[in-house]
Symmetry: C2
Subunit: 448 residues, 2 copies
């Protein structure tokens, strides 16, 4: 057991809140600060992408006894539902039977988590702006404005769970020997909305993650509990098919009629949603180190903000907590070692899920509409069903296993090389499930 | 001609000062701010690597009529002087006869440049701390401390020439869509000193850039006008041969006796220098965009801090000025276009010299002691002498030509692939200048 410490968590998002629950259960005094109002008191919509929870996230909730409670507010999603331009709708299962991810509304989940953290005894301080932190002695500096007067708040340990533009990291960035990178994507996103039917049911299959793949842009939709869907249009800011070019009502309506004809009946407020909701940016950030002595640690997006195309931002952040907790159980009161082992263990995995997420945009937005890619997936699934001990597809490794992301990425790259060779196999489209192909894959697996 | 503007340059380093001269000659009001005291009034030593000026830097000085004046304070360096561990000393000429770079002391050059800028009419404000800038209207915010009261200083245009940790860039970093990366090297450096002989002459050849290549660490030395040499020890912070391990006098003296035996007589104050001078960090930074509308632009290290191993930090910064000036001459008062064309033209070249500089550590610290590498260089030189229109070695492209860095890098990579093949040629160490090798190179050049 640990000696109780006075701990501040900066940021009341999903990771900060779940971390607060863990720290309370360990016996610490926990104060959570957020510059924004309490999300339970404000409307939350207009700039969110729905979340998906997969095994890594569930593992972290399970370890603290919250899995069942959260599952109640999620919707099982076991497949991609692909809407082609010609109106065809096809599905691709994500894993084996019974394997699924869960669609969760960010607002709903975050409110629930704050309730749970308060029940656990964490204290929340909303509308409190933390501008700076002293790394040497874990003090926070709070004030109305950045340039105004600040008050010092003393703690034993500070966690920066304050997201991609973390102020805690901002202080660390100004230390020597701190590596940091931020990169904005050329693709932005906008939230759209499919309302529920009058009887509260969903207008389209609620157990699919819907994708309208259109090459360098796509629409996607994830179900909410209330029968609605949160949709997200991902598209370049500039260029031929871009946000820049969808300037007026007519252009927008024509564009959707051309590229997403089957959304006409299900997105009734397209024009209003589109011009009211902001066009949001996507940013990737990387940094190292994540911790300072036994005083300060980054966790979640503040340490590794990724793009949403694998649905792993929250899962990776929750897995940070699992690793941190492992180190706490292992090293007791030695916070210096806890922090250094935590960052050492997580950094390569955070880099790997960042890379996987970046790559997955292309898979979602164009490959899912490519017959050759679909055949490749079919072969992988067929082989994996026959030889589960020899082949787990990359998506399953990342989403349904707890294998470290870095290992999943490395094995995925190896498997992909094999599949590239297999796709060159003569007459592969007919021979795809032949003994020769099976044997060839086994042979290639053995030349590691 | 341009309409006179009120322009602030933040930073009185080499690039800021030369930029001020250019802007004065164009008729603007120019104020240069620096948080440090006037370098002309303080001792400058202990943490500097000597500079080398090559053709790109000279071109920028020449265009404004300052080349001759600055050449007076430089020392021609036409070769590498390589000190092997066994005491052998060999040389490698950098280019053709008459081609050389110039060694310059940073302090001497910077003082001279400030004098010249003042003569040109630029006003300097030292000990003035600029904490922030308003991008929308080119105001600077100045104050004693970051958290204290600030004064607004209004300008038409602001240049951030304030180095790798630029405050001007710091403000841009907090804009959306600003890509930024900083990476600290695992190698640090420390300044050492070879004093002049009593009669003011140099103790070792002043026209060589001296290198003591020792694998993952090295010592180098560049001559000063006063007969002394500024030496720099580059070494990992941690590990077997590292700064961390050179903790006491005995370890240090033994280490130098083992690895740099021929420095014993020429670095008399080794122990004092070593423990007095700081161990400095090396950082690479990249960012984009470099400019904001027609109001603010980054230039030099603030836009692209690189490692010193190609000797091009200053040259690249001066070349920024050449490009900026080209755009000014082309677009007159249209500063928005000047800035956007300037950054568009320079960004790929800044990325290229960053990459070239990073790679050159290995070339300097280990390849210069590798017979295979020396043979490769000899073949390149032989072929280039015979076919100057077909082959200019990479070093010459970067240092003695004005070809854009990005082109030099691309062609260098192509040439390197050819040389890799040539080095596989049977019995290459004897056949290196044979007609077959000559023909093979020509053949490989043609399969582009």
């Amino acid at each position: 057991m640990q000696t109780p410490q006075k701990i501040a968590v900066v940021g009341s998002g999903l990771v900060g809140t779940l971390l607060a629950i863990y720290l309370k259960k360990l016996g610490h005094i926990v104060h959570v600060y957020d510059r924004s109002p309490d999300i339970r008191t404000v409307e939350f919509s207009g700039r969110s992408i729905n979340l998906v929870m997969s095994n890594r996230g569930w593992k972290t909730l399970q370890d603290i006894g919250l899995e069942d409670e959260i599952k109640k507010i999620g919707i099982q999603v076991d497949k991609r539902g692909i809407h082609l331009k010609d109106g065809t709708f096809t599905t691709q299962f994500y894993g084996k039977e019974g394997e699924s991810i869960f669609s969760l509304s960010r607002g709903v989940l975050n409110r629930k988590m704050i309730d749970l953290a308060e029940e656990a005894g964490a204290e929340f301080f909303f509308n409190r702006k933390i501008w700076d932190v002293s790394l040497a002695n874990a003090s926070l500096y709070e004030g109305e404005t950045e340039q105004g007067e600040w008050k010092e708040l003393k703690y034993d340990i500070v966690f920066g769970a304050d997201g991609a533009f973390s102020r805690v990291r901002h202080r660390m960035q100004r230390q020597s020997q701190f590596d940091y990178a931020q990169e904005f994507m050329k693709i932005g996103y906008k939230e759209l909305h499919i309302p529920a039917n009058e009887d509260g049911t969903h207008k389209i299959d609620k157990n699919s993650l819907h994708i309208w793949p259109r090459g360098n842009f796509m629409l996607m939709g994830l179900a909410n509990l209330d029968g609605s869907f949160t949709c997200t249009l991902f598209m370049p800011f500039e260029g031929e098919n871009s946000f820049e070019n969808l300037k007026d009502e007519k252009t927008l309506v024509d564009f959707f009629a051309e590229y997403f004809p089957d959304t006409k009946d299900v997105i009734p407020d397209l024009v209003e949603d589109f011009f009211r909701n902001p066009t949001s940016y996507l940013v990737m950030t990387k940094c190292f180190p994540w911790t300072h002595s036994d005083k300060v640690a980054l966790i979640g997006d503040s340490a590794h903000a990724i793009v949403p195309f694998y649905g792993h931002g929250m899962n990776a952040g929750f897995e940070d907590i699992t690793t941190l907790n492992e180190m706490i159980l292992k090293y007791g009161d030695d916070w210096k070692t806890i922090f250094s082992e935590y960052q050492k263990s997580r950094k390569p995995n955070a880099d790997a899920i960042a890379e996987l997420s970046r790559r997955n945009f292309e898979e979602m937005s164009s490959k899912t509409a490519d017959p050759k890619f679909l055949l490749q997936k079919k072969i992988e699934k067929w082989f994996s069903d026959k030889h589960p001990e020899k082949w787990m597809p990359l998506y399953s490794r990342v989403t349904f296993s707890l294998q470290p992301y870095a290992e999943a990425l490395a094995i995925g790259d190896f498997q992909n090389k094999i599949m590239e060779e297999i796709m060159q196999f003569p007459d592969i489209s007919h021979k795809w499930d032949s003994p020769e192909v099976e044997e060839k894959i086994i042979q290639l697996l053995n030349v590691k």
